[in-house]
């Protein structure tokens, strides 16, 4: 295909990259949207999580041609929204952040969950985060961060 059209953080883009180029590389290198990280490059760690049509996906697994006509949201866009601010603040207050490398992906996974389910149980939160590896926190405070975001953000989701 010749051109790829998509919307990223509310802005329309037209790309002419090789279609198999990874969305993650386009975001990080061409758009300097570096909140999404590469932790493994094979969909195991979730550090590259972004929203595709409001659902969390691994941007390292997506050829850029596959986002034709899609709406992509990275943390750079999401943090500007009330929902984004709510999760970022709740994570900051809960001790959910240590080294921070997994955190942007965690925030996006949490967003995807709360969009679907504004009042998740502990198991639902843990399931929603199960594709996002964290080596620092042991997860409990991240789970608390999501719960806090759900509570504080009532009506937002």
């Amino acid at each position: 295909m010749n051109e790829i059209h998509c919307r990223i953080n509310g802005t329309d883009y037209t790309f002419s990259f090789p279609g198999e180029r990874r969305l993650l590389d386009v975001l990080r290198e061409d758009l300097q949207l570096t909140a999404a990280k590469e932790g493994c490059g094979e969909g195991e760690c979730g550090a590259c999580s972004v929203l595709k049509d409001r659902r969390v996906v691994n941007s390292c697994m997506i050829p850029v041609a596959a986002v034709e006509g899609c709406e992509i949201m990275t943390l750079e866009g999401f943090r500007q929204t009330p929902e984004g601010r709510c999760i970022v603040e709740a994570f900051s207050d809960s001790g959910a952040v240590q080294c921070g490398f997994c955190t942007p992906g965690m925030v996006m996974a949490a967003a995807s969950l709360l969009f679907e389910n504004p009042d998740p149980s502990e198991v639902q939160i843990r399931t929603a985060l199960s594709g996002n590896l964290c080596r620092c926190t042991g997860y409990d405070m991240i789970v608390q961060g999501v719960r806090l975001a759900a509570e504080r953000g009532r009506g937002l989701w």
């Binding site: 195991e44 943090r79 952040v97 080294c99 080596r135 620092c136 042991g138 405070m141």
Partner: protein, 712 residues
């Protein structure tokens, strides 16, 4: 009311990280950046006979030994200098650096990298401790493949053994563990005006400076290391950045353009150091009342193909080999064994987790064999204040283990659960007791580091903290600022802590060994108290403070006798499990911990360390299988090397007990490693109880449990 220091504040780095503003090395743009890709050995042992390069397009270079500038040496200056920057002849392990391909386009580099052909004479290598000791393929370190050997003696073990009523023998083993810091290794180097400037994801900026200097024959002052936001380290970024930086230094001097090396995950798992595997053999003498009268320990650790810091790791293993027990007569032999594997290196706990796991499991095995309940059996041997360590040092502090046990046994329902789930009922509960000596082993703080910190009071009433110990996720940026703010009586917002650069901070030592708060935090506190006497917040004033050893600590580095550590932190972990009768999978039902770390500088940060450390240790205990196949790691992706997810373990109960330490800031002692040290043994003990059979190694996989169960 004055706030307690321990009351949590929001981490100073939380918002920038949660909001995705923080920049890690791969996020930072550089003009005219070139990329580097390491060309590595692909065999376990042998000699390189030829390197065939593809035609390199203009702008692409292959940097190798021949590019080392005049006066430079092909050596990385670590604790020893045995590890070469570029391998030329001898191959000691699979993954050694041969050279660095450098160029502007990674796509091209990728193709060039695939086209490099290296030929070898292949020799037989060793992977395991047994193979290393047997000098499989011939010794390559000395005549026996032993980097270092130590012996310790307490009391008169020979006499005690001769009077033994019964002797129990036991072998306890632990495997490799990969750090899996979420951010892979990465460094960017710049070279201009005769200066090398590194931007590194690292724990120890001054180590990098020292390590690379001889290879490029440069003065230390002309090498600058900036630490950048570091996405986890756990010991994995203590020495390994030296390896990347050395090759980068040679390349940067040769090419004089910025160059970046950022590993991908497979590369990181395959070729970066791991936790030392261990094999610890016990012989324990009992009297007729089943009391331990002597213990003989033979500890071997798999150090890999170059020495790195294995000699010091070995000491920790040996010093931890009696865990929290004061036994009357003890002999300990320790050996760091050379094998043809990626050199083992620092990893949270630094040898202690292996020693403690072995000691805890062995003590529980002895208890089982003599028919006593294991917590009772172990508690009788607890170290107490004034008690003697295996290096014939003294426990100076009050030991609160007994009180902690009263608390956590109740909280976890230990005794009830023991009763309601008899041994072999597929449900079990286990306990481990542990300690961790804070700071460098022995006289390291004085002899090796001599650390300094500087505080700069400014005209606008703010204070900058200048030191080289780094924030790498553990919360130091927050806890350091809290310490200084509290000591000065100012708000934390008036303190500044920036990621350090070697050209603007004094060397406060590496970020290792649970020394960052206990030792360096104390320096900050002292500096702040001094600044308070001479600075009114309206003009500039600088205070610099150096390390002072607690006067009552006595240590002989030659004989390894005396107080190996000035103070210890203490912990207990209880774990409850259920084993699936069909698949032998283990479900962890509960984890309860209690820790004594002097005083918490920030309770939220401490609980975060506890949770993270315990889950990392439970992964080590159960999931993190890492095998070698022909000298290569078999589980080299995150699809196969299993670290815990959010669903693998339940929430961790964490309680703290205060016992302020006079020489720690506000009474704080070491924390980061302690919380890793014990959980593996409590998990293994719980499984052991559930299946009614002794567990002798980790990881305790379903496959291993099946093996134990079929051993009827």
């Amino acid at each position: 009311m004055k706030e307690r220091i321990s009351s949590p504040v929001r981490r100073v780095d939380a918002y920038e990280k949660a909001g995705g503003y923080a920049r890690y090395i791969a996020d930072i743009p550089f003009d005219h950046l070139l990329y580097g890709k390491l060309v590595r050995t692909s065999i376990q042992r042998g000699r390189i006979t030829g390197i065939a390069l593809p035609d390199l397009p203009e702008g692409y270079r292959f940097i190798s030994e021949g590019d080392i500038p005049p006066g430079g040496v092909n050596q990385i200056n670590m604790i020893t200098s045995d590890w070469p920057v570029f391998t030329t002849g001898e191959v000691r392990f699979c993954g050694q650096t041969i050279g660095l391909l450098v160029g502007p386009d990674r796509q091209v580099l990728h193709e060039l990298h695939k086209a490099v052909a290296v030929t070898y004479d292949i020799e037989e290598g060793s992977s395991t401790i047994e193979e290393g000791l047997a000098c499989r393929g011939g010794a390559f370190v000395g005549e026996d493949n032993i980097y270092v050997e130590h012996r310790l003696k307490k009391g008169d073990p020979d006499a005690a053994f001769s009077q033994a009523d019964r002797i129990i023998e036991d072998v306890i083993e632990t495997g490799f563990q990969e750090h899996v810091y979420m951010e892979p290794q990465g460094i960017t180097v710049e070279y201009s005006n005769g200066q090398l400037v590194f931007h590194a994801s690292c724990q120890c900026p001054f180590y990098i400076r020292k390590a690379v200097a001889p290879s490029v024959a440069m003065n230390l002052e002309d090498i600058i290391v900036h630490q950048v936001t570091t996405g986890g380290a756990f010991g994995g970024k203590e020495h390994f950045p030296d390896i990347i930086a050395s090759a980068l230094a040679v390349a940067a001097v040769a090419i004089q353009q910025p160059i970046q090396v950022v590993f991908e995950r497979r590369e990181d798992i395959s070729y970066t150091p791991k936790r030392h595997p261990s094999q610890i053999i016990f012989r324990t003498a009992l009297d007729r009342n089943n009391r331990i009268i002597a213990m003989d320990v033979d500890a071997r650790i798999n150090a890999g193909a170059y020495q790195s810091c294995s000699a010091v790791v070995l000491q920790r293993t040996m010093f931890s080999a009696n865990s929290v027990y004061d036994l009357p007569n003890v002999s300990i032999r320790g050996r760091a064994v050379a094998t043809n594997t990626v050199p083992s290196d620092a990893f949270r706990g630094f040898g202690a987790p292996q020693g403690i796991f072995a000691a805890e499991m062995h003590m529980s095995h002895v208890a089982r064999l003599v028919g006593e309940e294991e917590s009772e059996f172990k508690r009788r041997c607890f170290l107490k204040q004034g008690g003697r360590t295996v290096t014939n040092g003294t426990i100076h502090e009050q030991v609160l283990l007994e009180q902690m046990w009263q608390d956590i046994s109740l909280e976890s329902g230990y005794y009830e659960k023991l009763k309601s789930n008899p041994s072999g009922s597929f449900r079990g509960i286990g306990v481990s007791y542990y300690l961790h000596g804070g700071g460098f082993t022995g006289n390291g703080e004085q002899a090796l580091i001599d650390s300094h910190v500087r505080l700069k009071g400014m005209k606008d009433g703010r204070v900058e903290l200048l030191l080289s110990t780094v924030e790498m996720g553990q919360g130091l940026a927050t806890t350091y600022r809290k310490i200084v703010a509290s000591a000065l009586g100012i708000d934390i917002s008036r303190t500044i802590f920036l990621d350090p650069s070697t050209n603007r901070v004094p060397d406060s030592g590496p970020t290792v060994a649970s020394r960052s708060i206990m030792v360096v935090g104390r320096l900050l506190q002292r500096a702040a108290l001094q600044l308070k006497t001479c600075w009114d917040g309206t003009r500039e004033e600088t205070v610099e403070i150096g390390y002072e050893h607690p006067p009552w600590v006595e240590w002989n580095q030659e004989t390894l006798q005396g107080d190996a550590y000035p103070a210890y932190s203490w912990g207990i972990c209880v774990t409850e499990v259920e084993v699936d009768r069909a698949s032998f999978e283990v479900e962890t039902k509960g984890v309860w911990t209690i820790h004594e770390v002097g005083r918490a500088i920030d309770e939220q940060i401490v609980h975060g360390q506890v949770n993270g450390g315990v889950i990392q240790a439970l992964g080590y205990a159960s999931l993190e299988k890492l095998e070698l196949k022909e000298g290569r790691f078999y589980q080299n992706t995150l699809a196969d090397y299993m670290i815990p997810t959010s669903l693998d373990f339940p929430p961790v109960y964490s309680k703290l007990v205060e016992n302020p330490y006079e020489y720690g800031p506000f009474g704080a002692k070491g924390l980061g490693e302690l919380v890793f040290d014990g959980a593996a043994a409590s998990f293994a003990a719980a499984v052991q109880h559930a299946i009614g059979r002794p567990v002798g190694r980790i990881p305790v996989t379903p496959e291993y449990i099946m093996e134990l169960m079929s051993d009827e």
